[in-house]
């Protein structure tokens, strides 16, 4: 198992290099640079700045320097946030983003699986119809529409919850962002889970379980759930990717000091190192998540062998 994890992580290195190269090239393809101004700087000063950030070297040279710095764990200085390195910025924002992302995926997973299973068992009842219609809305309404509505309603009209700020991770401050971020995923997961539950309930081995005279509760818990949850495990990685991109907007709307805003600001201001740094972090997280969901899948389904 440990061997497998190490192997998969080693395989991830080329993937990461390709991603780094891609971001590197895309950023430099964008017109302008980090030090482009309305008013041109005196050429000597500009030359000095360029030299300080290695921007005077050729692109392949810059790339090699950047990659070799990364292997030392140094993502370089931020071009725009003066006196900050990318490492410092990420370290300050990452706990916020991680808390938001992880809680959202956990909430989405539990609620989605629960609602989907119940809807599948009670299919074509009122409960099923309500869950499925609400989830359809959840899929159609993007989180950047949902977030302001939630803030308006719960924050301003009802005055129940704070509408912005991190407040050292106070749970009240997190409720609205987590809701806005996880609702679309709850919708998708519950629909998938419903379909999968219905399919499993119709399979022959459930007929066998019924023929044993077991109670409905035991049949669901021991025979249905572990089979019907498999598509959700496979969906875990794409769902997390969706959450990551969603969190960039949500962090802006709720004024959370996560890394999402660095990504947006960095891209707009051609902060090459900051964008690459955040990108590498996202990519690494995603690779780890895919690995995690593969391991979980093999753990739940004895027919899957890890190689």
């Amino acid at each position: 198992m440990i061997k497998l994890i190490i192997k998969r992580l080693l395989v991830a290195i080329p993937t990461l290099i390709v991603i780094i190269a891609f971001v590197f090239i895309l950023m430099r393809l964008a017109p302008g640079g980090p030090f482009t101004n309305e008013r041109a700087l005196p050429p000597e000063i500009e030359k000095n700045i360029q030299a300080a950030y290695n921007l005077d070297k050729s692109i392949p040279e810059q790339f090699l320097i950047y990659v070799s710095n990364i292997t030392k764990g140094d993502f370089g200085p931020s071009f725009k946030y003066k006196d900050f390195t990318v490492n410092e910025l990420i370290l300050s924002g990452f706990p916020v983003s991680l808390t938001l992302g992880l809680s959202s995926i956990i909430v989405a997973l539990f609620l989605g699986v629960f609602l989907g299973t119940v809807a599948g068992i009670k299919r074509n009842t009122y409960f099923d119809h309500i869950i499925m219609s609400v989830s359809l809305i959840g899929i159609c309404v993007p989180s950047f529409v949902l977030a302001p509505i939630l803030s308006l309603f719960f924050g301003l009209y009802l005055g129940l919850l704070p509408i912005s700020g991190w407040n050292n991770g106070n749970i009240l401050n997190l409720i609205l962002p987590i809701t806005a971020l996880s609702l679309p995923q709850i919708a998708v997961i519950s629909r998938m889970m419903r379909a999968s539950t219905i399919e499993t309930l119709n399979s022959n081995f459930i007929k066998t379980a019924r023929s044993k005279g077991l109670s409905q509760k035991i049949i669901i818990r021991k025979h249905v759930l572990r089979e019907s949850i498999l598509p959700i495990i496979d969906y875990l990685a794409p769902a997390s990717a969706g959450l990551m991109t969603g969190s960039i907007i949500i962090e802006q709307i709720f004024g959370l000091p996560g890394i999402g805003r660095y990504f947006v600001v960095g891209a707009l201001q051609r902060d090459y190192t900051l964008v690459s740094g955040v990108m590498i972090l996202y990519a690494t997280l995603l690779i780890i998540l895919i690995l995690f969901s593969d391991i979980l899948r093999a753990f739940l389904d004895p027919r899957v062998k890890l190689k």
């Binding site: 081995f205 007929k207 066998t208 023929s211 044993k212 005279g213 077991l214 089979e227 027919r303």
Partner: protein, 262 residues
């Protein structure tokens, strides 16, 4: 002779999008204790639904009426809780497709002892011991490791032996076998039918054997009942049906067996 199951005026209907479909039309029959009743008919003749309905395994859109007395208890009465207690305990089931009839993520041992633990609150160790004994009755090869294996690691014949084992765990008095040999090759088929004969003789277990294959039915049955389009065509002893069939349909069915088999 003691009748263990007495079915009278049983009808089964399905509520389909195309309207009500009548799958079983007003049939009556009984099975004597320790005997095997073979039910023959082409697919769609209602033979499976007859037995699913009296044991409460009908799909959600199905409904049935009539009466089915199992040891004097009406299975079609209102007390559905009682019936699910009989299911798996007094009445065992074997299904057609062994490849998909076992839960893929559960070890064979756990699947076998589940019903015993649920119905009789037996301890796990004791239940596993019983499962081993039963696997030797169904002549399972390599019994030692089988408990820790998953269904996908077993062959079709082995899976069907496990299914028979599961149906035997709580010492049932009736086993309903729905096309138990259809998915198996002939040598395994023969083996499974021999096991049925042994169960009948040694353990006095009553068997309802559902099949479209008269050859299979003739191998174990004492009585035969012929069904077509939800109706009971003819019933009688095995010899009478095979040698002197009274109804046209039965004669047709028998004429479908290749000559060289007789």
């Amino acid at each position: 002779m003691n009748e263990i199951l007495k079915v009278t005026n049983l009808s089964v209907r399905f509520d389909t999008p195309e309207g009500l479909f009548s799958a079983v039309k007003n049939i009556s029959f009984d099975i004597n204790e320790g005997k095997c009743l073979g039910i023959v008919g082409e697919s769609g003749s209602g033979k499976t639904q007859t037995f699913f309905s009296i044991t409460g395994l009908l799909s959600n859109n199905g409904a049935c009426d009539g009466s089915a007395l199992f040891k004097g208890i009406n299975l079609l009465g209102k007390d559905s809780k009682k019936i699910s207690k009989l299911r798996g305990k007094e009445i065992g089931f074997i299904f057609q497709d062994p490849m998909t009839s076992l839960t893929p993520h559960m070890k064979i041992g756990n699947q076998m002892i589940e019903a015993l633990i649920y119905h009789e609150k037996t301890g796990k160790r004791e239940a596993l011991k019983k499962a081993k004994d039963i696997l030797s009755i169904v002549r399972m090869p390599r019994i030692e490791n089988i408990m820790q294996k998953y269904p996908h690691e077993l062959s079709g014949g082995m899976k069907q032996r496990v299914m028979i084992g599961i149906s035997l765990m709580c010492n049932p008095s009736l086993i309903i076998a729905d096309e138990p040999t259809t998915a198996l090759d002939v040598t395994t088929q023969k083996d499974i039918l021999n096991i049925f004969n042994e169960l009948k003789l040694n353990k006095n277990i009553t068997i309802a054997l559902i099949s479209h294959d008269i050859g299979v039915i003739a191998e174990v049955s004492d009585d035969i009942m012929v069904m077509n389009e939800g109706k009971l065509i003819e019933k009688g002893s095995c010899n009478q049906i095979l040698k002197e069939p009274k109804k046209e349909y039965t004669k047709h069915l028998l004429s479908c067996i290749p000559e060289w088999l007789n």
